[in-house]
Symmetry: C2
Subunit: 496 residues, 2 copies
Amino acid sequence: MDPYAKLIDHCREIAALEGALSLMQWDQQVLMPAGGTEARSGQTTRLASMIHRKLVSDETRALMVEARNSSAGDPERMAMLVALQRDLKTRESFPLELIERKARVTSNAYQAWRKAREENDFTSYEPHLAEVVEIVKESAALLGAGDHPYDSLIDLYEEGSSFAEAKSVFEQLKPFTLNLLAEIRDGGSPIDDSILVADWDQQRLRQFMEHILREVGFDFSRGRLDIAKNAFCTTFATSDVRMTTRASEHIKGVVSSSIHEMGHALYEQNSNPGWDGTPLQGGASLAIHESQSRTWENVVGRSLPFWTHFLPDLHRFFPNLNGVSAGDMFKMMNCVEPSMIRVGADELTYNLHILIRFELEVELLTGALAVSDLPSAWNEKYCEYLGITPLNDGEGCLQDVHWSRGSFGYFPTYTFGNLIGVQVWDSLNRDVPNTGALIERGEFQPILSWLVQNLYGLSRSLKPKDLVRQLTGADMTPDNWMRYADRKYRALYNLG
Amino acid sequence: MDPYAKLIDHCREIAALEGALSLMQWDQQVLMPAGGTEARSGQTTRLASMIHRKLVSDETRALMVEARNSSAGDPERMAMLVALQRDLKTRESFPLELIERKARVTSNAYQAWRKAREENDFTSYEPHLAEVVEIVKESAALLGAGDHPYDSLIDLYEEGSSFAEAKSVFEQLKPFTLNLLAEIRDGGSPIDDSILVADWDQQRLRQFMEHILREVGFDFSRGRLDIAKNAFCTTFATSDVRMTTRASEHIKGVVSSSIHEMGHALYEQNSNPGWDGTPLQGGASLAIHESQSRTWENVVGRSLPFWTHFLPDLHRFFPNLNGVSAGDMFKMMNCVEPSMIRVGADELTYNLHILIRFELEVELLTGALAVSDLPSAWNEKYCEYLGITPLNDGEGCLQDVHWSRGSFGYFPTYTFGNLIGVQVWDSLNRDVPNTGALIERGEFQPILSWLVQNLYGLSRSLKPKDLVRQLTGADMTPDNWMRYADRKYRALYNLG
């Protein structure tokens, strides 16, 4: 066997284990009986450790050396090696002892977080979070490099990004958002979306969403949509991509989270199937992935043409919404309302939720903020930026899972996704004329095709910053998003 | 670490992979989108191969030697080593190449079988089955030993069994069954069960079954019941045991298959949890396992006391059956009617379905029957033994999954299970007085407790033949079952 083929085979062996692990985790969130938790957790720990040992091994290194020697000048092979090198380097930065300790600490922290959120009891969670923060600091120190301790952490989630980049993005977004928000509050015509809140039949809602997703282009013969506690998307192969959506009494909650996950899923279903099970499988980065979920959710799924097209279906599935027009849906899907919960936030205030988390996690890592002071710091920032104060920590600093899992440096990728999404959309609109008219007629194929050809089909073959430049002719910038938001909300709220 | 503990840890590592593989297979049958087949099959092949390599390894052998030296005189440890030794020996008989080939061939054959069954198209499946038969022959040759080529195959599924044993069992069952069947046909008062066939709401049926299973003793916090194309039971741990049931327009189909799988599931949920992930996990053998599914399905689930107890629930869930009495249900659940489909067969004719498969698979393996002639041979035997002829291969030789999976020698364990089930039930009735009255009052606990103490809790610590002797004071025999069936059907059909 050719050395390169040998390496790929080795990667596919690791990928089979990763696929098994993903399925175990998916199952745990969607179906598993509660009693199975301990046994499952024992098995996933073993699998995770096997994966680590198999990847960080002399075998991998030897295979890479041989494969590199036989791959010079072949761009696909070089991209493969670069991607694998990055995965390996990240893993190698940590001693096995730390990895196992982190797995244990975050597993306990996750359980404690779930309980604490349910019972609005930050105190019981505090010592766990403190342990997690210590491990994350330790990890950052081991990763080293960068001007700021946050640099190496954010780079784990978004290659090439930095504290400075995130800071600069938010320095531009913050005043823009706060100003527009004030204008809407002071001079906008209020929008009432209460008709969308009811005791909806969740199965019917799911069927409605299946109809929409199918028409947009999600292939149900290669994927599923299930109801779970959290909305997420998991890929077992380009031919098996599964989304979940939350049950919610707010139609908007189900619609947005389903279309959001569909954005991730379209990216995954249309990645290069030849790279399944290799280091090039899947998307270029978290932010690039998020750019697509946010584009489909917001730019497409909250647009007037979209609801013009799907209005007859909305009426058919929910006859008591017969009085609602496409214009009404457009308004209700976009009404701006500062709220406590990030995942339910409107498109405008969403980045403020991220900004708060970014500022707080930086302070936690630099020691400027003690873990015990997190709830009050959280509440103060919500009051300052959004003008509202959480009633309890469940809808406050306990709402997100990320920190319990040890994911510090992850949150900014959500906002990066918003920005990149609109930049890519602007590029798409230069090549594909009249996207509004296409969407209104339900002709999603030309849009999807452009994205497949220029983005989804490239999988992970380009580094995220190179990909953004190739796609948009520029680096990531808040400009496009701010232009888009300014136009959208001024029209929607009849502002000057 | 103590050498024995090291070995157990090694086994648990293998068990984690086996758990992952089982979950992948369960998922494939219950949920997976059709498009995922190829990728999933690639991953399961890799996992199966990893499991094989990890089990059949110098490491395992070395650990076993050390563990054996430190375990002399400890019966639990010795049982563990005996069980592991058997698994290892079976595996070692096959070269890795054959195992991988078998995984690939049977995965394709399974898909082809599903399609062929749906389309009643044996021709498209024939080449796949031919490949499977060749691999099974090859396996039998490698296993060697025994007087008959079938010996080594049946021993794979039922340790210590043989062609001669199966032959002898059927030689006694066949005339008994055919005679009783003729008596019923000629002189029995006919039973009409058509009221149980309707366009039932399958979700409601499932809820009805969940109610029954819960009351009998299945723990839903440690298991699930799903609807799938085939009824089966899978164990991920004693704390996560999952059953499926078929959708069916015949209430009997859903009821029997659910209670059948519950029998397997009760065995698994009540196995020794300390042995999870070790060679002693689960049941003693396929036949012993089947003895329990058949006992709960037939001896308990088709009894008059059972339907006396659950009659109010039947009426509550299905008000249009309000006119049905417990006696009616008892009769309808037991009416004898030669039919095409094994899994829907009544208790009396069931063993004839198995006999037909036993005879045919022996002929396929010895070359007495060509794969291409299977459909006609099948139909002839159904005509001869049951007096009916399948209208097509879908309800004929394509109805069972087993052969597509390469499981030859498996079928007789179903009949063995029928026999052992009644033998064990007879023993139980000597210790637990008035089981009929207990069942009528819905007091299943004393029955379940006896089974847990004497059988389920022993997991795989005894060889099946030793276990049958310990439980019943005798070897497996058709006598108890024939006595039971004779009494039951003579009463039911008012025969002399």
